[in-house]
């Protein structure tokens, strides 16, 4: 039998690394589990605030409040105006915004693939589902400073009051990308993020696919 001390065998680095991994993964697991309720509560608040933000201008126009005061009075305002619903055949997390008896629109939780991973957004539509009221991206893994700029206000503002159904053909609107900074000449032109063409195209594809699905749920649920 060899008398080589264990510390000098080839197994020692493996055992050492394994032990270090177990210790630190254990510490992180405990830390994460103890913080999870707080993180989840914040994520839920943030999600609901985004839905409220999409309908805040409409709610403000019907009430004596401003969009800011409606957002400031969360969660009461959310509970008063927003309701989770399930539209027939549409297997997406859906919400309905109403002020008293007047229906303001629907909000859908949609998803698609970006350049580096999946992305998720909340898209608000008018009651007839033909026009977007707005869109907010709440989860994406794109490159900071490039693709991640799809979450910036100037990009998202382009989707406010945007027709998603072509009135002539009745089909889902086909969008055209134009360079950043160029003035849009029609309501189907979207300014792309410079240096992030694939990400911008992914956002457009996500919207087109999901709007198509919402209008034709019988065509099947996309994976």
């Amino acid at each position: 039998m060899s008398n080589t001390p264990f510390k000098e065998t080839v197994f020692y680095p493996v055992v050492f690394m394994l032990l270090i991994c177990i210790v630190f993964v254990g510490v992180l697991a405990v830390m994460f589990r103890s913080s999870e309720p707080k993180i989840k509560a914040y994520q839920k608040d943030s999600y609901q605030r985004m839905i409220l933000e999409l309908f805040a201008p409409d709610l403000a126009s019907l009430s004596s409040d401003t969009p800011e005061t409606i957002l400031a009075s969360y969660p009461e305002s959310y509970n008063s105006y927003i309701k989770a619903i399930q539209l027939p055949g549409i297997e997406r997390q859906s919400f309905q915004a109403a002020y008293g008896d007047s229906l303001l629109g629907y909000c859908f939780d949609i998803g698609g693939k970006g350049l580096w991973g999946s992305m998720r957004a909340l898209v608000a539509l008018t009651p007839d589902l033909k026009k977007m009221k707005g869109m907010l991206i709440y989860d994406q893994m794109e490159t900071p400073g490039l693709g991640a700029r799809i979450s910036e206000a100037w990009f998202l503002d382009q989707f406010k009051n945007l027709p998603v159904i072509d009135l002539n053909t009745g089909q889902v609107q086909r969008f055209e990308l134009i360079p950043e900074g160029k003035k849009s000449e029609s309501n189907h032109q979207i300014m792309q993020v410079t240096g992030a063409t694939i990400t911008t195209n992914s956002v457009i594809k996500m919207i087109s696919d999901e709007i198509n699905y919402i209008h034709n749920p019988s065509a099947g649920v996309r994976p």
Binding site: Y12, F16, I20
Partner: protein
């Protein structure tokens, strides 16, 4: 070296940013607001101090062949702790800092201090060295953040100090301004301190 000398060398004489030109990426990315700079600085200081302490503590048992993997793992663990803490207790700041907290793992200052100091010195000295490097890094971030926030937003730590008469300089909000400020800072320190000492 005494504990005080270790701290001063790490924080000022051999400052990681202006002397060793390390950690530049985050120094440019998060310095548009002083609060972001402060939180980033605290996160890096915490990770530096504790990773230095831990790496030094186990240095006699760490096999040479896997030492860099061990260092990366320890640094990553402390950075994830910072990330979880911010997500749970300071969600707005966590959102503003975005991916940059996670990217502390790739901050060259941490691996640099682990390899150059912690793997060869006692745990307490390594911790002081880590705190010093973190303080030095935070000072640079706060200085750049101060200039950018003051001229870009007219505020300091979110408090308006310049009135409505002030026209914000948009360039200060954008990343290139940090390039210019950092370059000027390095130039001034080199001229005033290192060159004068020969």
């Amino acid at each position: 070296m005494t504990k005080k000398q270790i701290f001063i060398t790490s924080a000022f004489t051999e400052n990681s940013v202006w002397r060793q030109i390390l950690g530049i990426c985050s120094a440019l990315a998060v310095t548009n607001l002083m609060m972001n700079s402060l939180i980033m600085g605290l996160g890096v200081t915490f990770s530096l101090a504790l990773s230095g302490f831990t790496i030094s503590l186990i240095r006699n048992w760490t096999p040479r062949s896997v030492r860099m993997m061990v260092q990366t793992l320890i640094i990553a663990a402390y950075v994830i702790i910072v990330d979880i803490f911010l997500k749970a207790n300071m969600p707005d700041i966590s959102k503003q800092l975005g991916p940059y907290v996670g990217l502390i793992i790739t901050n060259c200052i941490l691996m640099g201090r682990a390899e150059a100091f912690a793997s060869q010195n006692t745990p307490l000295d390594s911790m002081i060295d880590g705190i010093g490097a973190g303080v030095g890094y935070s000072l640079v971030l706060l200085l750049i953040g101060f200039i950018r926030e003051l001229f870009g937003f007219g505020s300091i730590f979110g408090i308006k100090v310049l009135g409505a008469w002030w026209t914000p300089w948009s360039i200060m909000v954008m990343a290139p301004s940090a390039f210019f400020i950092l370059a000027m800072l390095i130039w001034i320190i080199n001229i005033k301190y290192y060159k004068s000492k020969g």
